[in-house]
């Protein structure tokens, strides 16, 4: 085919395989490569303080979790009001390792990639269990099932002495090829680890959506009866979507535990679950790069709200609790406004921007 492999002027697909490509043009591919190299290289040139590094790492952990939430809510169309609990399962898997084999055991310090994987599988198992009602029911009931899982999770952590009753369980430092990761390197080290995980999960999900298992998800979301008629099993597909989401959530949770060097219940409450939902909506449900926009936008907004409320609380009487009030208020407003005016999220703005630059100076 004599089309320009660098700048496509339109769709010249002659086979389904063409349409399924990840990168349509060489330009896309090279831009992506440059972007990736930049992501890996910038910490070497800028010496950011630990505070900002923590914020960035925080966003990246949330990205892993949101990729999972996007599978279940975006692609499979099932609301999960318990995503923080699945993330918590991952974090508490690491914490259970600490409680059982001790904080300095070689598995936790040297074989931590394995621990992260195990945490992912634990998340997947719990996700599949919670998704089981999907065999019989449709989405409304599933939302309630995830909500009740969230409540059961919180109770279990809060009341069991094994989990330190919700108090933080410390996780030790890890070892890398060059020895123990020191206090100074901690955030940089985990930045790279999480980045690698994100790139891997990103490609995994992108590839998943090209296979029958991925397209099965959106088929069931769009019309479950038609999907059933085409030979898919809608119930099993939903269970499997929950399992997959649980896996990514578990990985995110383990990363969270290692990053913060501890696991405590306050990071996995119902409120956090709602925050995750807000991230997924703001980013754009059912799009992969929405999973990157959402966490970044919400976390940055969160920081801004914090500074604003700190400044403003001096102006208002103390009884108004501006700092506790503004966060949920802005969250709620962001969710509602996005749903009412831009249901496709920031990912849609990105799409518009892309097509605008591509077609410029013409309008369409």
């Amino acid at each position: 085919m004599a089309t320009n492999r660098w700048l496509a002027t339109g769709n010249y697909f002659t086979s389904y395989k063409d349409e399924q490509r990840i990168f349509f043009t060489h330009l896309d591919r090279s831009i992506f490569a440059v972007f990736l190299i930049l992501l890996f290289a910038w910490p070497l040139f800028f010496d950011l303080s630990n505070k900002y590094m923590l914020v960035i790492n925080n966003v990246l952990v949330a990205v892993v979790a949101i990729i999972g939430l996007n599978i279940v809510t975006g692609f499979a169309g099932l609301i999960s009001i318990g995503h923080a609990a699945f993330v918590g399962i991952g974090a508490y898997t690491v914490a259970s390792f600490v409680r059982v084999i001790g904080i300095d055991h070689v598995i936790l310090t040297h074989a931590w990639p394995l621990v992260i994987l195990v945490a992912g599988f634990m998340g997947a198992v719990f996700g599949a269990i919670v998704g089981l009602p999907a065999m019989r029911l449709k989405h409304l009931y599933l939302a309630i099932a995830t909500l009740s899982f969230q409540m059961i999770f919180q109770w279990t952590i809060n009341f069991m002495p094994f989990f330190n009753q919700g108090q933080t369980i410390s996780v030790g430092r890890v070892y890398w090829l060059t020895g123990e990761v020191s206090r100074r390197q901690h955030y940089f080290f985990w930045y790279y680890v999480i980045l690698v995980v994100i790139v891997l999960t990103g490609f995994m999900v992108r590839n998943l959506l090209r296979t029958r298992y991925g397209r099965c998800l959106s088929a069931v979301r769009d019309n479950d009866r038609a999907a059933d008629a085409m030979g898919m099993h809608p119930g099993l597909t939903k269970v499997y979507a929950f399992g997959l989401a649980g896996f990514f959530a578990g990985v995110a949770g383990a990363l969270h535990a290692y990053l913060y060097r501890g696991a405590g219940i306050e990071s996995f409450t119902l409120h956090e679950s709602i925050t995750y939902l807000a991230m997924a909506i703001v980013g754009g449900l059912g799009t992969l790069h929405g999973s990157f926009w959402g966490p970044a936008a919400i976390r940055v907004l969160n920081l801004q709200v914090e500074t604003v409320s700190e400044r403003a609380s001096a102006l208002f009487p103390a009884s108004m609790n501006l700092s506790t009030a503004l966060k949920p208020l802005t969250f709620g407003l962001v969710i509602v406004l996005f749903l009412m005016f831009e249901p496709r999220g920031i990912a849609n703005w990105w799409r518009i921007l892309r097509s605008y630059t591509k077609l410029w100076p013409f309008r369409y």
């Binding site: 009602p133 019989r136 029911l137 309630i144 109770w155 709602i274 609790n321 208020l329 509602v336 009412m340």
Partner: protein, 297 residues
Amino acid sequence: MSYFFQLVVSGIVVGSIYALSGLGFVLIYKSSKVLNIAHGQLIASGAFITYALTVWLGIPIYLSFIASMVLTFFLAMSVERVFLRRLIGEPIISVIMVTIGLMSILDGLIYLTPFGTENFSFPEFLPNTPISMGGVSISWTQLVGVIVTFIMIGAFSWFFKKSTSGISMRAVSDDQMASMSIGISVPKVFGMAWATAGLSAAAAGTIIGNITGLNFETLHAYGIVVFPVVILGGLDSILGAVVAGIIMGLIQQFASGYLDGNWGLNGTAEVLPYIILLVILLFKPHGLFGIHEIERV
């Protein structure tokens, strides 16, 4: 044995409040198929309005109870009008998300008032001494609360069975197309359902506030406990909500009475409803009285 009856009595007290909260939830679900996640916030705001009217403005509590119901009626109606009306026809997933957002907004608004973090209690207007009968005691507040709850439930049932708006609500829940074709304004019915739900939430909130004191955390927790209640009763059955509410209250009281402290268990009353919920969803998803119209996909 008197311990058992004491648990039964307090179970019925808690359960009747669950019944009233579940009622409002079911009203919304039945007519518009929306899961109202913000129900606990409606309950809390109803209770706080009553408190503000009674204590800050000095209105007698009977009047402020009614005034609070009226105000929450309009609050819920305007919530429906502003946020949910424009989402009619959107996928159900975004409607539920909107109620989640609404929950956050109402949370934020309540945190702006002193009610968000401080504890208040209603002034006592009933005799202080509990009524005792054969070792079982119930306080006057609880007794009056239960009586008011059952009056409210009776009034709602009458409203549903006999009044024109109630009948049109039932018609809409049965078949939207058909009810539109006979001239029922479906959006109006949705608004009406939210408004009555707000009214019942205010009643429930005020009664809870009188029995347990005003604490935002406790009050909005009722909005979450309502889920196991309505699932047990069947999501779209008003009778189910009432019966299941009382069953759930009894289960919770028995759990905290007999399970806590044994076998190293603690706080079982908080978690048992959700375990029951998951079990019901797995084995009898339409609950006790729900319509068997569940699509198996």
